[in-house]
């Protein structure tokens, strides 16, 4: 369970960093344009697409290692 909790916390921190840390460090500026978009407009388009990849990886890890699985009642996804 500790392995699963560690993975979950890492995923939470990564998503939070993408939205907050990366925004503050690299994208909160008016120029230059990225793919024709102002930096923040670009970044807040990218992160909602990256986040499911992060959480999807966590899901696969969770399905493999989470001991709670045996108490789940729905079919495996």
């Amino acid at each position: 369970m500790i392995r699963m909790l560690t993975a979950w916390l890492a995923a939470v921190l990564l998503v939070a960093f993408l939205y907050l840390g990366a925004t503050a460090l690299w994208f909160n500026r008016p120029s230059p344009l990225i793919l024709g978009m102002p930096p923040l407009v670009f970044w807040f388009l990218v992160v909602p697409i990256v986040t499911p990849l992060v959480l999807g990886t966590l899901y696969l890890f969770d399905r493999r290692y989470n001991p709670q699985q045996d108490y789940f009642t729905d079919a495996s996804g």
Partner: protein, 499 residues
């Protein structure tokens, strides 16, 4: 008859048809409190997806968020970030709530609190307080409905009638349909809303700017101060963004209706899958924010009309039939999300206040009482919206600051820290609410650039840990069972090979 009135009549007809559909569909599944509130924990991923979505993608997303971007510029991105961080948190939290709910027969958030802390009093306190906060939250949707009707009718339909109509429809749909009926309405609402926003997102750039590239170039050239933080909103800098997103993402799952929605799922795997895919929904919010920026260039800057900008742009560029679809979507975005909130408020008052104070009340009576409270609660929200709109604005502004103060009690104490006590929980919640209230009333939000609710949460945590360590926790044997439900010691031998 003007085009606006015809469009409103079409929208009304659509609302009535969908409401009857919801009633007919939900009635079969809504004969007990468990069935009515949590669909007997049998809902599959498809409907849970829409139920989760409907509570997040509301009238605020449809109208308020564009208005927020129109008024405050890049600060609006907080609303994209908060839900995704919350989904990452929810990946573990919602399945844990579900497991505990199934093991200990929880139907509401208050059941969870009373059970974990072995305290009927704390459960009643949380039920009452959150039910009151939620009634204020329902009014957000009344305001959204009013804005739609006002714009589409060209200002000719005003006063309380749009709100009265919306809440009569909502009240009866919830009372007869229950959560299952609401889920199907949510599915239709989300599809319509998706079509409406995506259409406007593509039509606006090509109609007014000759494409996306020129539109973003104009953002860059003319809206530079709106493209960064703090930009035009001097109090909303990066520190505000960080503390607001942390506070609101922790607060999101503390709304009592989320417990009800998580209990509806057939199993935790459905909830985990929602956490994986729900972030894609945020692209809709991104589109709405872009529309809000475009509105500044197209409509000029009139701060008071921020909430109307989406409907105003839709009225400018969409043909009549598409505007009708847009209006139906906007009306549903106001009406449907209020359903689970009303049901949860009614459930909390009937099950966690009335039945706990008078324990001899049977489950059948509690179920009837819950349903009979739907219309009075809806009516109370309507009265509040009409009589004290200024109060409602305050309630909405502070709602997240207050609801997030439950995080230490429910998440830290409820899922991670056995040593937490009911006294520590109560001290933390009250301390947090007092600090949040004081900072807000003295106009100290943000406080040195930090979200006021976040400051309150720090005080809350100090009290929560300090008082808990000085008081006695609940019975250790019970806590052992409680926490083992979330943290099973090992996997069952029989199933290891199949995993």
């Amino acid at each position: 008859m003007s085009e606006g009135v015809i469009i409103l009549l079409i929208a009304l007809a659509a609302v009535i048809v969908m409401t009857i559909g919801g009633i007919l569909y939900g009635r079969r599944h809504s004969r007990t409190l468990d069935g009515w509130l949590v669909n007997s924990r049998l809902m599959g991923p498809f409907l849970v997806w829409f139920l989760l979505g409907t509570e997040i993608y509301t009238a605020f997303t449809f109208q308020g968020l564009a208005g927020y971007a129109y008024v405050n510029g890049a600060a609006a991105y907080y609303n994209v970030a908060l839900n995704d961080v919350a989904y990452a948190l929810g990946f573990f939290l919602l399945p844990a709530f579900w497991l505990l709910g199934r093991r200990f027969s929880h139907v509401t958030q208050s059941d969870f609190v009373a059970s974990r802390y072995q305290s009927r009093g704390l459960g009643i306190f949380v039920a009452l307080a959150t039910a009151l906060i939620m009634i204020g939250y329902i009014d957000l949707n009344i305001e959204g409905l009013g804005a739609v009707v006002h714009v589409i009718s060209g200002g000719s339909i005003a006063g309380i009638w749009p709100d009265v109509l919306g809440f009569v429809v909502l009240g009866f749909a919830v009372m007869f349909g229950g959560i299952r009926g609401n889920a199907w309405q949510s599915a239709i609402k989300d599809i319509l809303m998706f079509i409406a926003i995506v259409t406007l997102f593509f039509v606006v750039p090509f109609h007014f700017f000759h494409g996306f590239g020129p539109m973003f170039q104009e953002f860059h050239a003319k809206l530079g101060s709106r493209m960064v933080m703090p930009g035009i909103a001097p109090k909303m800098g990066i520190l505000w963004l960080v503390t607001t997103v942390l506070l609101t993402s922790m607060g999101q799952w503390m709304w009592p209706q989320w417990f009800g929605i998580s209990y509806t799922a057939r199993g935790p795997r459905s909830l985990k899958l929602q956490a994986v895919f729900m972030p894609l929904y945020q692209l809709i919010k991104w589109m709405v924010i872009v529309i809000g920026f475009a509105a500044v260039l197209l409509l000029g800057y009139h701060k008071k009309e921020g909430n109307n900008v989406v409907m105003m742009l839709a009225g400018h560029v969409l043909p009549g039939w598409m505007l009708a679809v847009f209006t139906v979507a906007a009306v549903f975005s106001a009406i449907v999300p209020a359903g689970p909130i009303i049901m949860t408020s009614a459930g909390l008052l009937a099950r966690n206040v009335y039945q706990k104070i008078w324990p001899k009340t049977s489950d059948a009576t509690t179920y009837r009482l819950t349903r009979s409270l739907v219309l009075p609660i809806t009516f109370l929200a309507l009265v509040l919206a009409e009589l004290a709109p200024a109060l409602i604005v305050v309630v909405l502004l502070v709602a997240y600051d207050f609801i997030a103060q439950l995080f230490p009690t429910i998440v830290i104490g409820g899922l991670f820290w056995k040593r937490a006590t009911k006294e520590g929980a109560l001290a933390g919640i009250l301390g947090g609410w007092i600090v949040a209230g004081w900072l807000l009333l003295t106009h100290e939000d943000p406080w040195h650039g930090i979200n006021a609710g976040f400051v309150a949460l720090i005080v809350n945590l100090i009290l929560f840990f300090g008082v808990s360590l000085m008081t006695r926790p609940a019975d250790s044997a019970f806590l052992q069972t409680f926490f083992e439900t979330v943290y099973p010691k090992k996997r069952r031998v029989s199933s290891v090979g199949s995993k």
